[in-house]
């Protein structure tokens, strides 16, 4: 039986970055969908059941942490991996993200295309954090 191609949902309000991540992840062979804020992300997540969500924190309408309050990773979507992605490295946010079931917290400015793919690959392969 062919291994299912992972579906990745990119949630990022900055257009240029959103498109860049789509290009990078599609080229690596993933099924990629994108949203530009938390509300849009909720709709897309319901529609496409992602295996991994790349979640930006600062977004208009509904930010990343708010999205996690509505999209209950721990109780309702325990198999979905979440990588929280932000250029704001504020400890409080990091703590809250992990509390809400995030698997990793990555500084966007650190992730080159290569590093991004590595993190996504490692996170998909790893068992879900307890």
């Amino acid at each position: 039986m062919a291994k299912k191609i992972p579906t990745i949902l990119i949630v990022e309000d900055e257009n240029a970055l959103n498109e860049a991540y789509q290009i990078i992840l599609r080229k690596a062979g993933y099924n990629v969908f994108s949203a530009s804020d938390g509300e849009d992300a909720l709709a897309k997540a319901a529609q496409h059941t992602p295996d991994l969500i790349l979640l930006d924190l600062r977004m208009p309408h509904m930010d990343g942490l708010n999205f996690l309050r509505h999209y209950d990773v721990k109780l309702q979507h325990p198999d979905v991996k979440v990588i929280v992605f932000s250029n704001y490295d504020i400890q409080q946010d990091i703590d809250e993200a992990y509390e809400k079931g995030a698997d990793r917290y990555i500084l966007k400015a650190w992730a080159s295309p290569k590093k991004l793919l590595k993190v996504v690959g490692d996170t998909l392969a790893a068992p879900k954090a307890a």
Binding site: L17, A20, I23, I24, N87, A109
Partner: protein, 382 residues
């Protein structure tokens, strides 16, 4: 010219008291007016004549002068005296002069006095006004200080906000340049690749500067608390050297680690200590030429861990040592322009080491290489 008239009308207070009871024999008009008493007091003992005044200053002065035979002089003596219907504060300079008889005992005491109330009052008012000025100035300075403190906080908040926001476009550059370099939009000619790498590296420097600025803004704002834990310094050094090895080898340099057999455990914030080691080893390499060696020496002694990072590079003149750890200071040396850098690294390094309760020292001469010596305390329980 009548001496009596002269003395009677003199603007100086003059009076004479006689005998053991100090009977007031003579008192001129100045004397009587200044002390606010009427002429009827002449002929009576001073204790009775100046009852109110007597109560204000001790009468032993007369006895003192009579018994010692020595004059008594005082300045700005304060008395409350009657002027008209009021009682006012007045100040006098005065002298009690003994007059001896043939046997040498003091028969009379002569009192001379001058009222100096206006001078005293003017001086006091001047001092009060000065004090008010000082108080107002102090209040203003305190207010300015509060404003400056606010500005300083705003500055830190502003740096944090700007830095975070600057990361976004820089991240965009990183992604797109990265994608071109990795062939996402077609093959890249070597010449193109070279230029693109330069651009990518430049952007990385920008991102590093932003990271440093943020760290510093947070430290200055007192928001960074280091989280110390049991830290395997031996392993940490090995990891940092490993990561930097490629750059070091590429520059034609070698690096060696000297350490004790047993792993050295210190109480330190691993992430921050790593930043410090990263910065110092990177500097050691950047400021050295080809065919030079870098050495990292780890040692442990009573109560402290020491890490020395030694290079054979350009060195730092002793006169520049004190400037090294200041914000935005970059010492001029042949390599500084080539190396680039924003002068934030060593400032950050010192702040982070200070936060651990440790110390950092530099040993260096121009052209003779450099050693940075780090010391970290170990709490006794470890």
């Amino acid at each position: 010219m009548n001496i009596e008239t002269l003395l009677a009308d003199a603007p100086i207070m003059i009076a004479v008291v006689e005998g053991p009871d100090f009977i007031l024999k003579v008192a001129n008009q100045s004397y009587l007016s200044a002390l606010g008493v009427r002429s009827a007091v002449v002929g009576r003992p001073v204790k009775v004549a100046f009852a109110e005044l007597y109560a204000q200053h001790s009468d032993h002065l007369f006895d003192k002068v009579r018994l010692s035979g020595k004059p008594y002089i005082d300045y700005e003596r304060h008395l409350r005296v009657r002027r008209g219907t009021k009682i006012v504060d007045a100040y006098f300079n005065f002298a009690f002069q003994p007059i001896k008889n043939a046997e040498g005992t003091v028969a009379q005491v002569c009192l001379y006095g001058m009222e100096v109330t206006p001078q005293v009052q003017v001086r006091r008012k001047y001092r009060q006004d000065k004090q008010k000025q000082l108080d107002a100035q102090t209040a203003r300075l305190l207010q300015q200080n509060d404003q400056l403190k606010e500005l300083n906080t705003s500055k830190d908040e502003f740096i944090a906000l700007a830095s975070h926001q600057l990361r976004t476009p820089a991240t965009g550059v990183k992604q797109y340049l990265g994608m071109v370099l990795e062939g996402y939009v077609g093959p890249v000619e070597p010449a193109q690749e070279e230029f693109l790498r330069q651009a990518y590296a430049s952007n990385e420097r920008q991102l590093n500067t932003i990271n440093d600025l943020l760290q510093i803004a947070q430290i200055d704002a007192g928001k960074v608390a280091i989280s110390p834990e049991e830290c395997d310094v031996t392993a940490l050094i090995a990891a940092v050297v490993d990561e930097q090895k490629n750059n070091i080898v590429r520059r034609g340099q070698t690096i060696a680690i000297i350490k004790p057999k047993q792993p050295v455990i210190a109480w330190a914030d691993s992430l921050r200590l790593r930043m410090v080691l990263d910065n110092l080893i990177d500097n050691a390499s950047k400021y050295s030429g080809e065919n030079t060696a870098i050495q990292v020496t780890l040692a442990e002694s009573e109560g402290e861990v020491s890490i020395a990072i030694t290079d054979q590079g350009v060195g730092i003149a002793p006169s520049d040592h004190s400037k090294l750890f200041q914000k935005f200071s970059r010492i001029d040396n042949p390599l500084s322009i080539a190396v680039g850098g924003n002068g934030l690294g060593l400032y950050l390094v010192k702040k982070l080491i200070d936060a651990h309760g440790g110390s950092i020292k530099v040993i260096s001469e121009l052209g003779q290489g450099t050693t940075f010596m780090l010391r970290l305390p170990i709490p006794p329980e470890l």
